[in-house]
Amino acid sequence: AAKVDPSQYRTIPAASGKSVDGGVVTIAMTPGLAPNYIFPYPPAEANGAVIGNDLMWRTLYRADADGKSNADTSLATAPSYSDDDRTVTISMKKNSWSNGKPVTAGDVVFSLGILKAAVAQSAANWAFYTPGQFPDGVTATAQGSDTVVLTLEKAYNPAYLESLLQQLVVIPSADWSIATTGGPVLDYTDPANASAIYTFLTGQSSDQATFATNPLWQVVNGPYSLKSFEPTTGSFSLAPNKAYAGPGKHTLTQVDFKAFTSAAAIYNQYQAGTITVGRLDSSYSAKIEDLRKKGYNVYAAPAPARSDPLVINFANTTGGFDKIIAQPYMRQALQHLVDQPGYIKSRGVYNGAASENYATVGLGSAFPPDFGDKAPYPFDPKAAEKLLTAHGWKVDKAGTTCEKPGSGSDQCGEGIAQGQKISFTLASASSPSYVGARDLAFSSEAKKIGIDVKVVSKSLNYMYENYTNPGAPANTNEWAMQDTGPLVMTSYPTANGAFNTDGSFNLGSYSDTAADKAIEASVFGSDPKALSAETTLLSKDLPVLFLPTPDNLIVWKSALSGPPDTFEGLLKFIYSPEQWYFTEKQK
């Protein structure tokens, strides 16, 4: 198997060729990510993945791969802030719904009202929600049909607020603010009505058989509307929305999203040439050259705002793990055992298709940590061993033990008893395969200095449900670390949800006053540098261990062309087929 040289795949060919009218694009969806919902604000109990991302209903601001709002595809122009940042004025651009009605300020107010109704019913109903924060304490008013004014109780860092507005899907108030089919249009500003509307719309969305036929869902503001949906697999087809006036030639006659159950199945389809656009599992990175020969473009890059943490459970008391892991030197020693360059090079893990990453903000971020590319705790087993010895541990391949209990600087630390061993469980996701491989490598490295890491393989879903301290506190002592794959942040990649003491995504009960302060500053302060400071601090304190970030491998037929950034967007699942076109007539 040839080793992959990633530099060859880091560029996207410029838009080229002559556009041919028509053609159907078939997009392969990542296994396990098939949608089951259509209403853009799915309740938690639907476990919803929404059809077509934002191709049918656009968000107020639409982000590019780099997280910045795209001026062309957003529904409004850049917001303007008052001096105290608490009043935000947003001007709507001229856009219209598929039924001809304009997209208005009222629609934005309606959308926010529905979002509020959703989180009022359950905090779990919006993934970006932290109780007490957006949309709580945010009042939206429409001034005329094209100006929205947001009044905030508490000022947010403008970059952070904009990242949230990038998640605000705008839905049609004129057609959807009803509580029964064919019922009267209600005043959505009344929270009781909003709640009834929300209940009605989620109810309508629970009947999958009617997704493509329910007239409600045909009112869209994005470039496409739903043509058909296959409930058993989650495959679906989109038809162009003729009323869409955004950028792009909009020449494709149809866009098919096809569900798959395994990476192998997708690979087979590339071989057969039946998929136009999709991703390639990294276990096939050695096959890139083959695919190119078969007429595919391949682009590989790490996804922005992504980090790959080995999540630590600070509350696990099994074997005194909580006391041991509370020691910063211990986490540093463990990070020294993570061989990021080795994993990247290894054929068995990334086969070259990954990059070193030591920060929560991800690679190439606009808010980089101040240590730049240099690892704070690079792979160095010797250093790890030295750290342990220096803190009173007797390093022994057969089992390292604490020799000097106590809280002195050369002692093991508070609460660690004499003779204490370091032994814990690492739950490793059963797919993709590189996750298991890197965890094994880590465990094997730890064993060499007498740390016993038991790797157990679990399905992703199982871990999502059972291995989170906020959600399943009863299971706290079952896992000490878990590797569930990436942590993907919003375009303003603060670790607010993940590492804030009471963040809703704080899976491992990490709690640090300095970190809390830094996060507070990056969320609510106005300092553009606050986020850099936050990520620097986190990278040094190690709330998690950092693993390399794999490159996403994007594959598309070379007969398909379009602006390079529309392909780059695929790294973050941002699809823009309306800007794509075929350069050859399709069969």
Binding site: N268, R347, N351, S431, A441, S443
Partner: protein, 301 residues
């Protein structure tokens, strides 16, 4: 998958039950008869070969199966690695030996567990007869009707697989077939005249069970055990393929095979075919031996 063996499966006892007990089993005579059966010789040689390979192999060909070797991952067969390396840089040949130990152990443990449980349950039901037998066998019907693989998958998804739990789970479901088999055997033995003769002489149940019933079902039990081992190994393989196998540091042929399957299109054949061959050989060996054994025992009826 589990109940599908052409002849061992429980249907055998349902349909073509010719459950008369075997004639004496002077072990020597059986061994002599087996030695004359080409099937038995082939089966036994495969098994001996694989057992030697798995348990004695590591002595002749020691490899490091604990330390992940990132640099040497996924090497094709060549110098230093006669069968290449796996994604973690483990020597595949050495890993096959390790996996063989675990596979054989699980298979045997599961089969022993299933056979013991099944024998006791079947014997009790067969001896009790009447309503007790009816209830006990309906319970077996119920469990048999629930697709085994689904059961195991649901459980395996929930609990981490270790060799011990895996054997218990597999054994915990495959005893049903043995139970039916043994019950049928006991039922037919119970009315056999030599058992009645013993009763006539005043023998108690205990004596009848231990001196007449058990020795006479022994052959059936041994044959059943052989098939159970084979089936258990196949089940582990299927579980592994569906993603519910064992994980580092232990491994078994099924898990090896299934983790290799990811690489089938990537051309890393050495991750699949050797492990596949091992499974095929061990199951084939066990089935050949079991069938030969049954033939020999049948012939002495």
């Amino acid at each position: 998958m589990t109940t599908a063996h052409p002849e061992m499966s429980e249907k055998t006892d349902v349909i073509v039950q010719t459950a008369t007990a075997a004639r004496p089993l002077a072990a020597g005579a059986v061994l002599r008869a087996l030695r004359r059966s080409p099937m038995a010789v082939a089966g036994a040689s495969m098994l001996v070969l694989l057992v030697l390979f798995s348990f004695a192999g590591p002595l002749l060909y020691p490899t490091n199966q604990t330390d992940v070797n990132l640099l040497d991952a996924l090497l094709p067969p060549g110098e230093g690695y006669p069968l290449g390396t796996d994604p973690n840089g483990f020597d595949v040949l050495g890993r096959l030996m390790l996996g063989g130990q675990v596979s054989l152990e699980i298979g045997l443990l599961a089969a022993v567990f299933a056979t013991t449980l099944g024998t006791v349950y079947g014997a009790v039901a067969g001896l009790a007869g009447g309503v007790v037998d009816g209830i006990m066998m309906r319970f077996v019907d119920v469990l048999l009707a629930i697709p085994f693989l689904f059961f195991v998958l649901i459980i395996a998804a929930r609990f981490t697989a270790t060799p011990l739990t895996l054997s218990l789970v597999i054994g915990g479901f495959s005893w049903l077939v043995s139970a039916r088999l043994i019950r049928g055997e006991v039922l037919s033995l119970r009315v056999r005249e030599f058992v009645q003769a013993a009763r006539l002489m005043g023998a108690r149940d205990r004596r009848i069970i231990f001196t007449h019933l058990i020795p006479n079902t022994f052959g059936v039990i041994i044959v059943n055990l052989t098939f159970q081992v084979a089936d258990a190994i196949l089940v582990i393989a299927a579980l592994g393929f569906l993603g519910f196998g064992l994980s580092y540091p232990v491994t078994d042929w099924g898990s090896q095979l299934s983790s290799g399957v990811v690489y089938i299109t990537a051309g890393n054949w050495w991750l699949i075919y050797p492990a596949g061959l091992c499974i095929v050989l061990v199951v084939l060996g066990l089935n050949l031996l079991g069938d030969a054994l049954r033939d020999v025992l049948d012939r002495r009826r």
